[in-house]
Symmetry: C2
Subunit: 357 residues, 2 copies
Amino acid sequence: MVNNPHPIIESIVWTDQGVQYLDQTRLPWQEHYVITKDVETIAEAIERLEIRGAPALGVAAAYALVLSAAEARAENILRLRFEKAAERIRRTRPTAVNLFWAIQRMSMVLEKNKGSPVQEIIEALLKEALSIHEEDREMCRRIGRHGMSLIPDLAGILSHCNTGALATGGEGTAQAVITTAFSHGKTIRVYADETRPLLQGARLTAWELRKYGIPVTVIADNTAAVIMKERKVDLVIVGADRIAANGDTVNKIGTYALALLAQFHGIPFYVAAPVTTIDLATGSGDLIPIEERAATDLSIVAGTKIIPDDVSVYAPAFDVTPHRLISAIITDCGVLYPPFEEGLKNIRIHPAPLPDD
Amino acid sequence: MVNNPHPIIESIVWTDQGVQYLDQTRLPWQEHYVITKDVETIAEAIERLEIRGAPALGVAAAYALVLSAAEARAENILRLRFEKAAERIRRTRPTAVNLFWAIQRMSMVLEKNKGSPVQEIIEALLKEALSIHEEDREMCRRIGRHGMSLIPDLAGILSHCNTGALATGGEGTAQAVITTAFSHGKTIRVYADETRPLLQGARLTAWELRKYGIPVTVIADNTAAVIMKERKVDLVIVGADRIAANGDTVNKIGTYALALLAQFHGIPFYVAAPVTTIDLATGSGDLIPIEERAATDLSIVAGTKIIPDDVSVYAPAFDVTPHRLISAIITDCGVLYPPFEEGLKNIRIHPAPLPDD
């Protein structure tokens, strides 16, 4: 059996009219696509989480940099606009390493083409952005293939946040493991925790899995321990926004609690992420900056304020899961088992071959 | 220092016009009181969680039984109506033992007054219901006094659901411990987890604590592990819907996870509940029926559906916290430490004296 080469949902694509993205804040109520040539629109879409998911942010950043350069007539103007756009995008979300990594790749292309005709520079930037996107699609396929053997038949799977097509340029990270196992004939049920504050599990993962025809049950975040105790789930699989050199993993708030609860119940806890998420320059998770979101992320649900005025709110967007709680890290270059340090260092250099079907 | 003898908020009171209750589903948006003489209105209010909290349910059930009898002109009619009302109320929420306990007390009064003039029976029923309510107020005061020494000065306290005046006929259970410590001059900050699905922490606890002037910060349920790791909280205190003979505690969904996370982080985990919550006839928590709420509790927030259609939902209302995870049980008759079995058996017979101020 072969995976569907194109994901069912494309959250972000390059078109002749500019970047087209699906506004994820309107899901599941509306499937609303935005087409824009404006860098600021994309930057704000990232800040508002209309575009979200670490890999998708890398793709969006790359396309935004193409847009920043597209109308320039002289190289110095192009460079000024590019730098301004890069600076703007860096400020949107501090935790996702893919954003910085994509900007770096695009900057290198700009350097390499120094002195070339402006039109050639723009074409080189577009080519690089399209490559980043295509590599992302391929990354998703590879994560799915490497990870699927970890999913037993008849598995109950607990997922957190959204790690699917909406979060990436392809089929997803953790969710690609699920969809690949499913497309290879495994019977599964996904328990999607709703993932407060922004309900990515309830709104996005449930919406995506239904499109794939995968059985999904939504639970409140605080119900995860109960379904573990009731043996409804056999494993937990999550994505990652950044993985430190020792394997400590930054991911959506709530991940750390799930990892602790999984360990207590003897349930494997898997992280699935591309190798671009690995940040070898950062030794451990406590060194990674954690974005704190605005109080309104938590206090306003679907337009209604659910917390009395003048009550304070603490809403970190991410947390750090210590490497000791992680059973395996599934990447596009293979699956790593503890201790992670050596593997994380070498996996880009010595990727594992893709498993046979 | 003396506690305020009257709680600031009265969630349920008996008036000449019938029962007056605060509709908790409208908080924090509206402070809307309902006055009714209709048993069905109260039964539905209990089902819809307009009236909620184990002790408050006992008070509401008692008043509803007074209402059922109030218009009867003959004893046989009175008994028929009483039985029908009792039957209706028993069906509202299966987990709260206080409901059954209050019905039993009222039935005993009915038995004791067999053959008395109807008006005397009605008066005896009202007297008993008012006693249940007054005992509940006293119970709250005593829980607060017994528990306050467990709250260190400058404590960060994690609370779950709502255990305050809204949940009881008095100042609350777990929350009475907090308000009593505060009124005795201790500096505290409460972290109220929002408590999905019905947001009792975000809507009700935050609203109440603001009325008392107690600093409160709302967090998502999935953020509890992070504030424990960050040492923002020194203890967790929760209420109970039922306590089995061995100390296993049934409480709002999410409690079990908090107890596990507290144990992992070395943070004490306290349960505060009246002795009427102790169910000696039930040996352990796994024997207690757990109410499963309708999917809409989770899928609709403030009137908006947040989960796509046709996606299944699993929404148990309660979970069981094994006694091994509980540091102490604070009751109106004193504080119990593990192992709980003997203490739970004897505490009604040999209550501890109230601590001095």
